[in-house]
Symmetry: C2
Subunit: 600 residues, 2 copies
């Protein structure tokens, strides 16, 4: 069993829940008709299935070579990367002026889910390059862009992001790397850790984006600048020339994503690494924050992709493995017929689908925030994006860990054996809850910057949309859909979100630490309530297809089942989390760090 | 930072919640006064801290050697095993007539938690031997016992359990291994998989207990017999003699417990492996079931032990690592001062403590079921044991996976790096939810055999005890304890358990598949409600100590905080699970296996 790109699900979501036909009305998207997009995704799906997925497990087993500062990728990876470049999949959303396809974020989002689902370790390379491209396209001057962007968009060169230092992880105010001006450039020195694809053998050059401080920079977050520091300095023809003063000192031995090199990079051990300032001095962190929504969306997609792959693997195993008797069935029966296994699989699939719909809606809002004709609508979508991104990031990735854990569970003892392959998802998924801001960081972002800062404006807008979904249901009466359940649940989702927002607004007045103590509960309320909303909309759309006898009735009924599964198995916990927020936040404040840290 | 045996917690639980002083009143336990037990645990704690814990991470890194059918243990493991044998820790609960200490199960349970917490891969060897000893002590004839038991109790020889075959995992009715009578013995043939410590170099002989079928045996579970099949046939002096016809074919490459050999064993590839029948023919599975309570309790303890170790590791890291500012604090502050990190640690510790109290109460009931003077009380405790064991097994181990995952999370990016060591807990913990019956199997056992079979009798007894705890609280009014919260929560725990039982009794009449679909929800209701009860009792006891100014006030207040933490952060989900049970079970029944299994 290998990965099958879930195109049927994705096409349904795009068409029925993301207004795909409206996309081509946006400025610059005229060519992206629904037919074109479906054709693009079909090809992307084939690439994911046929090129990336087959390398996933082998890459995990082979791992990486590291010798004399050089990283060797697993067997077949360089060839797959070359295919990716040739097919134009490296950075499909980049602007055509730099050689990209200029795909809508919505469509690129689908592609990123497929590629990450097939092989997260591989896709990290294009993802980091895409982030670097975005930064350079937005902030670098045209001269820098001319040297780097085209080669990075094609994938001939790769890009990286160098933020973390040993003492500066979630807290980037502590960055100490230095940049000293010299002639037309800067000399960069310092150590960076956890640099994904900081070194590898799939490309001719690697373009490092590095955060560092100028000599006169203020302390803290306002004194950090962004630099381009290439592995090889481009020569007059723009080809990789002299080696820069930087090297990969070591690679990490990690829990998962074994085929993705996580590098410790040393800059300027000798004369200083030559770097070029991106944009203005001291605005590096601000630029990074501007990249953050796309980066976090992409990590959320990694979660969704891995969850989908883990689910498929478990569902396949469960339909092959025979153990035990089922009521009124043969013995031994395929374990997929056992109620508890069905439960696990149904909940896994429902969670994955809910997170997917939410992520695609966030992606659509990124396009709308950029290109909708009306300024108010653009602003509204930007607020929506800002609100949803931490939820997509945190909820999708925590969901992925849970789904991967359940996928192992479905396999029983076989799941614990690495050869089976499913344990890899359990290991790989865990990184997604950590990098690009841990789940805790996302929760604090949601509560502090996205709910409290605008006093609940973005929240009130999404609550209106959820109530609109609920009210639209009132007019439908198809047989297969339990309209009352769906309507009641949608209103409950809106209520829960509203109540958590109200509590937060009041709590911050009492004690500034309370919203922080409550942050994870609020995140859970949002994740579950918004997923429920998405799945309710999905069930309603499926029910409309059913009513007109459109296509495969079993597929539409399955959509409805998944919504019910989520409402009954996951959504009740949202109410519990609201209770935790209200009462538990005080008990967190009351916990004594000294007691927690004390050895028995 | 290494492991610290949580003796302060354990001694408190034993004395205040497990009636330790009453234990020595039981027949055969006269010597085990509280002082003696405390001294024994102090020594066990030292052994865990000083001998076992230091080998845990290195064993994970080194892993196992395997060549020509021989397993080589990691550096230092054989020496540690020799120390274990010399100190008499191999099987401390075994009867003195076979060389054991005859420790109460309650005390042995504490030791097993400590040893597993320090090093689960190591402790699996004594645990499996203990299981084999228990089986031989209960069912083998005296001649067999004379040959094997003393050497196994001391640890000179180790024991294993050979149940699983490729086609027979959770469903042992499909066992195909054969036993053909010949002279005074049997010739055993067949392949067994997932045999923990099936082969290693720490002992002179390994005593395999093997399930196999006699030629005339009925099909299914009633035709399986149990055999002793030693690696080396004991000679006339009882020393390891001729090699038996069995071998380790391969060892598994696993997600975790890397230093515990998981073997595929081939029996009788040549002339047939010589085996001796244990007890009567065709009763092998019945004998295994009789061992099951202790085996499952021990796996639950592994979960608790790993959770404790993971918690300690995370708490230590969080008190050392500085990132970001806290309200009214220094910047950067130790992350343990950040509310969200405190929340994670508090919830981790509270869950661990709740599971520990429940496990120790179950262990006490094992002793009481065996030795209480009154037959009715013995029977009541046996019902209690039977009811609690699946909960201790499933709840403690799922809790361990969650706690280990959070421990990685507290470490951020450092947690994902294997050198840090915390990722090992995330990998190791996962096996505990699988072996000795997966979580799903435990849930079905709870619902089918432990709730429905006796029509809720054992449930009603524990509900009475929970209400008694609630009512006892009514008479206390200490300042530090929120008596109303505790009393209300205890009654709610009782209500939830009662309601789930009532629903199950009604549901089974409607559809035999419904209780199975609901099983995991019921398990969660039980796990959370019983843990809440245990922690409420613990908080009440702590509050009594506080009231009389006894000992360390901070420690007692910490107990109370943990109970509150659990009640606010975990317990609200029990109500959600009841809702899931009532509504979600129908949606599970409605899921179509064909749709779940269908590739997109």
């Amino acid at each position: 069993m290998t990965y099958h790109a879930p195109l049927r699900e994705i096409n349904f979501i795009l068409e029925d829940l993301c207004n795909l036909s409206g996309l081509s009305a946006l400025d610059g998207f005229e060519d992206f008709t629904p037919e074109t997009i479906e054709a693009i995704l079909l090809e992307a799906g084939k690439f994911a299935n046929d090129v990336l997925a087959p390398l996933n497990h082998q890459g995990d087993v082979d791992g990486l070579g590291f010798k004399d500062g050089k990283v060797t990728m697993p067997r077949g990876w360089k060839e797959a990367y070359t295919s990716l470049v040739e097919a134009g999949w490296n950075s499909p959303a980049a602007e055509p002026e730099f050689g990209g396809m200029g795909l809508p974020v919505l469509v690129n989002t689908c592609i990123q889910e497929l590629f990450n689902g097939a092989n997260i370790s591989f896709q990290l390379c294009p993802l980091l390059t895409q982030g670097a491209i975005e930064a350079l396209a937005a902030y670098a001057d045209p001269a820098l862009q001319a040297v780097y962007l085209e080669k990075m968009v094609s994938g001939e060169w790769a890009g990286t992001m160098n933020l973390t230092e040993p003492q500066a992880g979630s807290d980037l105010s502590q960055v100490r790397s230095k940049a000293v001006p010299k002639d037309d450039h800067y000399l960069i020195s310092g150590q960076k850790i956890f640099i994904t694809y900081g070194e590898h053998d799939m490309v001719d050059n690697i373009v490092h984006l590095v955060l560092a401080r100028l000599p006169d920079a203020p302390e803290g977050t306002k004194g950090i600048s962004l630099f381009v520091v290439p592995k090889f300095l481009p020569d007059a023809e723009g080809q990789p020339g002299v080696a820069n003063d930087l090297r990969c000192v070591s690679i990490e031995h990690k829990l998962g994503i074994h085929a993705s090199p996580t590098c410790t990079m040393a800059y300027g051990d000798n004369e200083g690494a030559i770097g070029y300032l991106v944009g203005e001095p001291n605005r590096g962190l601000q630029y990074m924050f501007a990249m953050m929504n796309n980066a976090r969306l992409n990590v959320g997609l990694q979660g969704i992709g891995v969850a989908e792959h883990a689910f498929q693997t478990a569902a396949y195993y469960a339909s092959e493995r025979k153990q035990g008797a089922v009521t009124n069935g043969t013995s031994p029966a395929p374990i997929i017929q056992h109620p508890d296994v069905k439960r696990m699989l149904g909940v896994m699939k429902a969670q994955t689908e809910g997170a997917r719909i939410l992520a695609l809606r966030a992606a659509l809002s990124i396009d709308m925030a950029e290109r909708a004709p009306d300024a108010d609508i653009r602003a509204r979508h930007q607020r929506r994006v800002d609100l949803l991104i931490p939820v997509v990031k945190a909820w999708s990735t925590e969901m992925a860990v849970s789904v991967a854990s359940q996928a192992v569970q479905v396999h029983g003892g076989m799941g614990y054996v690495e050869e089976t392959g499913v344990a890899q998802f359990y290991r790989d998924a865990k990184i997604t809850t950590i990098y690009e801001g841990t789940t805790g960081i996302q929760a604090m972002d949601l509560v502090g910057r996205k709910i409290l800062r605008d006093q609940g404006l973005a929240v009130s807008e999404i609550v209106s949309d959820i109530r609109a979904s609920a009210n639209a249901l009132a007019d439908e009466g198809e047989g297969a859909l339990d309209v009352n359940l769906m309507r009641r649940s949608a209103h409950e989702a809106a209520d829960l979100i509203e109540k958590s927002c109200e509590w937060l607004l009041a709590a911050q007045v009492t004690d500034a630490a309370l919203p922080l103590a409550a942050a994870q509960s609020v995140m859970d309320v949002f994740g579950m309530s918004l997923s429920a909303w998405c799945l309710i909309d999905s069930a309603a759309a499926a029910s409309r297809h059913l009513a007109v006898g459109d296509g495969d009735a079993a597929f539409w009924r399955y959509r409805i089942s998944l919504a019910e599964c989520f409402i009954h198995h996951i959504f009740p916990m949202a109410q519990a989390r609201l209770t935790t927020m209200r009462n538990g936040s005080y008990s967190v404040i009351g916990l004594e760090p000294d007691m927690l840290a004390q050895a028995s």
